[in-house]
Amino acid sequence: MKLLFDHGTLVFAEAPDLSRKAIPGLLWDPRIALYRAPAYRYPEVVEALGALGLPLTDMVRHRLTQPLPSWQQPGLRPYQQAAIVAWTLAGERGIIALPTGSGKTRVAAAAMAQVSARTLCLVPTRALMSQWLAELARYYSGRVGCLGDGRQEIEGVTVATFESALRWMPRIGDRFDLLVVDEAHHFGSGVRDEALEMCVAGRRLGLSATPPEGQHLARVEELLGPIVFQLGVSDLAGSWLSDFDLVVLRLALNRDERTRYDADHRVFSELNRRFRTMHPGGSWQELVSAASQSAEGRAALRAWRRCKQLLSFTQAKRQAVAALLARHRDSKVLIFTADNAATFAIAREHLVMPITCEISRKERERALLGFREGKLRALVSARVLNEGIDVPDADVAIIVAGTLGEREHVQRVGRLLRPAPGKRATVYELVTLATNEVRKAAERRRALGSPHVATQ
């Protein structure tokens, strides 16, 4: 019997009658008149076939055992070493959760050096891909491959964006024995998971500052393994991460804004109240789905969107941003907004560089380098700076508004926490009084652990 890789699945050629119970994931494929199994179950399949004692020519294993150039083990901090030990003890399969700035990429490089196997690293963005390529080149003597951003180079160690991996995995899913997934919280639902399903790699390492929860976690655990090591911002702030102060600025709406907000909020609140009465514990998606069925519901959702838009950049926030930028003229400032409209409004008003998904990678890199060298004093972004981009030495963050909750907040604050001698970062959070921002801000702060909070 031959075991082959076929477009993200395993195919059993010249196989006798096999029991579906004996081999994990096995199904008869009438389209090709052969047995088939999902690629991610490769290690279990091989083990099961071994237990059955069937003669097997493993055409997949052949590709995985080609030797690699040498690795140099990176120096690790104690908690990074502990993370590697935990992952190794878990059978080289699982998720390591560490805050932003704590050196997750280095942990991954250490795991790769330890295993010294053919490795595919998945990263969410092109910008992050460049950082990984540079970091891995420090420890790996061979050529590092790259899939994404117009490059299609596959090597023993390859870095790919999520999107490219999804496209390429049916063809390359049998070439790697270790799969490293950065920002693993992006997985757990949707089509991206299929990239992980189509890879035969038995060794898997997920990295995240904010691991997924609930159903998403269960799915990610199935594809990457359980969370084997976890530390939060508060565990490392002041020691391995820079310490920081969180300053909450409570701002008011002006009369016109208040009138508009209250009117729209009333419309949405009524819908929300009725939905909660009928469906206690219903999710936001269920609410949107139910509301979309009626004209009244759709009007309420439009009202909610208007509220959100209004709060994203109120007049008071506009003034606060101006005051804070003037106050921290000599600091490196990151400004986080809820949407691109607010991002460009701030960029125009204060002539600061916006970083959005529309800004090309080259321009982003130039901007980040300019920021690093002090040529640019501030960057403003809605989401792109949230995670994945290495922004050293920023010491002030202004969080104008957010849309993605606690996870986003932890990522944003993490942008400031890369340690530097004598550094103490400041995070300003702009919260509009008597709106739902107050509750959300409290939830976000709880997610950070116990930061030093001041209110003004």
Partner: protein
């Protein structure tokens, strides 16, 4: 379902196509667009999603705006390259201390040879969300907008499809090639006969058409390898790509099993000849530059021969063969050769292909085989004419072969089994 411009009847999807009846509001939509030329593009697109002066079905309007947005990707019009403008302005702002905004813009505009207003306009002129609306291209009409919207509508459902079954007549090769190039599993067979029970429900003219065409139709069942295990979304893009190619077929019927949302009950999408779906732009006629170059070069060196790009498929036991080209003599149409390019394929693929050719007992097939592929003489079909190539197929070698056969008395090829041809003189990369 309204989001997908459709409703279900039983387990079948009924698409709300845009037709001539929609042209009045589509014209109004285009007029609104024209009114917004020069304004901020995202704001105009937002405005176009709101009620129009002429009543328009909301879901159809959303779909038309999506298509219009894609068709009017604006060009950048700025006095200074926006990227340069951004860098200069933001660096100047950072290094100017507490200088007022207008002073920074004045200083930079002077340096860049423009004025502050134009400089500010140029700052984000290349970014989708900030760019100004450009004039409507002349090629966009209500009719074209409707056709593109319908194609997009079918595509939206196919992105949710798990498997697709197609019955098609004529020009089916492009569909099969696309499916295979995309790594889909494409089971091919002759078109099924119309069942008696089905005959009773079909209109007479359709029944006649089906019965008449039964002999040369093909049945394609397309799905992805992973689709065996669960409903998956990864093949959506590839399945979508089938539709424009399908529109090339003389007749077709596509049935797709789709899920509107993950986990929803499967529903069936049916698209067939006569539905108001048209490709918005011409498809690339060739799958590779190798094929394109061969067709061009052969037409040049062999003016007496026609190169047919989409020859009729050939039945081979339970499957169908799709040759790449058919070469037909202009004055003697009985002199016909099928040409199949075998390049960049795995040995397993080649093995299967040769087996199918042997089963079909084709006596007029020319195989162009990439020399880089391992293919021994013994495995070639008994009556195959072979031309070996590296990167480039020499058209004169092909011409010599077809003319050489013409010199013999019989139109049927009568050559030694697997006889290799003399080396061609064309540009070959050994």
């Amino acid at each position: 379902m309204s989001r997908l411009n459709s409703h279900t009847a039983g387990n079948q999807i009924v698409l709300h196509y845009l037709t001539e009846r929609d042209h009045p509001w589509l014209r109004a939509l285009l007029d609104e667009y024209e009114r917004g030329v020069g304004s901020k593009r995202v704001e105009l697109l937002q405005r176009l999603r709101e009620p129009l002066p002429v009543a328009a079905p909301k879901a159809k309007q959303q779909l038309a705006v999506e298509v219009l947005e894609r068709l009017t990707e604006a060009r950048v019009a700025a006095s200074v390259p926006p990227r340069e403008a951004r860098w200069e302005v933001f660096v100047a702002s950072a290094t100017s201390g507490n200088a007022p905004r207008r002073d920074v813009l004045s200083a930079v505009s002077e340096r860049l040879g423009t004025d502050p207003v134009r400089l500010e306009e140029a700052l984000f002129a290349d970014l989708r969300t900030e760019r100004a609306t450009a004039p409507l291209p002349a090629s966009i009409s209500p009719d074209r907008l409707a056709a593109e919207a319908n194609l997009r509508l079918v595509g939206k459902w196919l992105k949710r499809a798990q498997s697709v079954r197609i019955t098609a007549f004529g020009n089916t090769r492009a569909v099969v090639r696309h499916a295979r190039l995309q790594g889909l599993i494409c089971n091919i067979g002759p078109a099924p006969s119309v069942e008696k029970s089905e005959r009773a429900t079909l209109p007479q003219e359709r029944l006649d058409a089906l019965v008449k065409a039964d002999t040369d139709g093909v049945d394609l069942q397309v799905s992805g390898p992973l689709a065996l295990f669960r409903h998956t979304l990864i093949y959506g893009r590839a399945l979508c790509g089938l539709v424009p190619r399908l529109l090339w077929c003389a007749r077709f019927e596509l049935k797709a099993v789709c899920e509107a949302t993950p986990g929803a009950a499967p529903v069936t999408l049916v698209v067939r000849t006569g539905d108001p779906v048209r490709p918005g732009r011409e498809l690339k006629p060739f799958d590779s530059s190798l094929e394109q170059r061969f067709a061009k070069d052969f037409r040049r060196v062999a003016p007496d021969w026609d190169v047919i790009r989409e020859p009729r498929p050939i039945a081979s036991q339970s499957s169908i063969i799709f040759p790449d080209f058919e070469l037909v003599h202009r004055r003697e149409p009985s002199r016909r050769f099928l040409l199949e390019i075998v390049g960049f394929w795995t040995p397993k693929y080649l093995e299967e292909k040769l087996l199918r050719l042997q089963q079909a007992q084709l006596d007029n097939i020319i195989l162009c085989i990439d020399e880089a592929r391992a293919c021994s003489e013994a495995t070639l079909p008994a009556n195959a004419q072979v031309i070996r190539y590296r990167r480039y197929i020499d058209p004169t070698a092909v011409l010599r072969l077809v003319e050489g056969v013409a010199a013999s008395a019989s139109p049927t090829l009568d050559t030694e089994p697997g006889r290799p041809l003399p080396k061609s003189r064309g540009r070959r990369h050994q």
